[in-house]
Symmetry: C2
Subunit: 231 residues, 2 copies
């Protein structure tokens, strides 16, 4: 890198041979886009700013990424591919139900509640009318894939007799909703800071405890609760 | 109503006395805005269309609602006020834990997964940079208020010895995430149809069963699960 945006643009204009492969430039652009997402949310003028940040001409940028939608799509798939690789590395292994659930949910929550991913969601939802298929692929790659992997794992646990679940897909979406919904909603709507690593871990532990053992007291359950006071 | 938009506009221009109270006109406008939300998602030209749908001049519309943000804010608070009234009517009463949870969660899910509310969310997220305080109040009125009421009720159940929960606020947000996250996400990102009344009821029943009793099999739990096969 080491060159200023102006130097780079000069080079581009003078038609000198490219010193970097397109592949390298693509990663520099994706990194620039990621930073742009976090600062301005990648608004209308975003493509010019990304080019400037990446130190390339907008012409080069548009050669590599013909539209903002394609740049966003690549950002999304880069995120999810990385996630899938790491997730697959982790989900193997001979572990107890609690331990396995903990590994998967912590990893997924850390991913879904990462500032980069929440910024991407913000942009996708904002520009949804412009790139509906991007929102759909975000859904497919994000929730569907994760819920699929998790429910497969749950079915395995059912087969081994460790848990009793009728509908493992539903159970997977319950688990994901428990750890992700509230913090993601708070960040998207209210701009609340995302939970720390430690808070996510605590959240995941409570979620798993509830999922496995519930919260019903051992006392008989036919009893009526006292009326709730109105305030 | 019975008058065409053109008639109404003529009346407005000629300065004839108003035949409707502002209060009545407001409800007609809110109803028109609600329909506009469902068809176009209330885009940039929305205010003119709302005026036309309501059969009033844009001048009158802007007198009653000085900006699109204020119109949306009134739509949101109308929704949530109605919700709060009905929710309060329901949460009293001498009921079993299951029954109470079922009443509250079904009612809340029916509200949070109603097409009108999801359309409103879509617009709020799309225009969030223009009206950030609207998104924040949506969060406060929607999640915070509901989670607050629900956690108060859970604390009551803990006090009566019916359930064991350390952190009732967290438990409330788990319950909400379980019933709302997946269908809302699918509708917002992929445009999937929202669940039917019957699907919501089924979802709520499974959620409560899991919340109260968990899914751990009664066998000893120290055992190791077999490794998950990769596909």
């Amino acid at each position: 890198m080491g060159m200023s945006a102006a130097d780079n643009r000069k080079r581009a204009y003078r038609g000198r041979p490219r010193l970097r492969s397109d592949e390298e430039t693509r990663s520099i652009v994706l990194e620039a886009a990621r930073r742009e997402l976090q600062t301005t949310g990648f608004n209308a003028t975003g493509m010019e700013v990304v080019a400037r940040r990446a130190g390339i001409s907008t012409k080069t940028l548009y050669r590599l990424f013909p539209s903002k939608a394609e740049l966003l799509r690549d950002l999304v798939s880069e995120h999810f591919d990385q996630f899938a690789i790491e997730f697959n590395l982790r989900r193997s292994g001979l572990v107890e139900t609690e331990v396995g659930l903990n590994q998967m949910l912590s990893f997924y929550a850390g991913f879904a509640l990462h500032p980069d991913l929440v910024s991407l969601q913000r942009v996708i939802l904002q520009d949804k009318s412009n790139f509906p298929e991007l929102a759909a692929s975000f859904y497919a790659a994000g929730i569907i894939r994760m819920a699929g992997d998790l429910s497969k794992w749950l079915r395995d646990q059912v087969a081994c007799g460790f848990i009793h679940v009728d509908d493992c897909e539903q159970a997977a979406s319950f688990l994901i909703g428990m750890v992700v919904f509230e913090p993601q909603f708070a960040a998207l709507y209210e701009g609340k800071p995302l939970p720390s690593r430690r808070q996510i871990e605590q959240q995941v532990r409570s979620c798993i405890a509830l999922f496995l053992d519930g919260c019903r007291a051992s006392a008989p359950t036919g009893a009526l609760s006292r009326p709730v006071e109105r305030n």
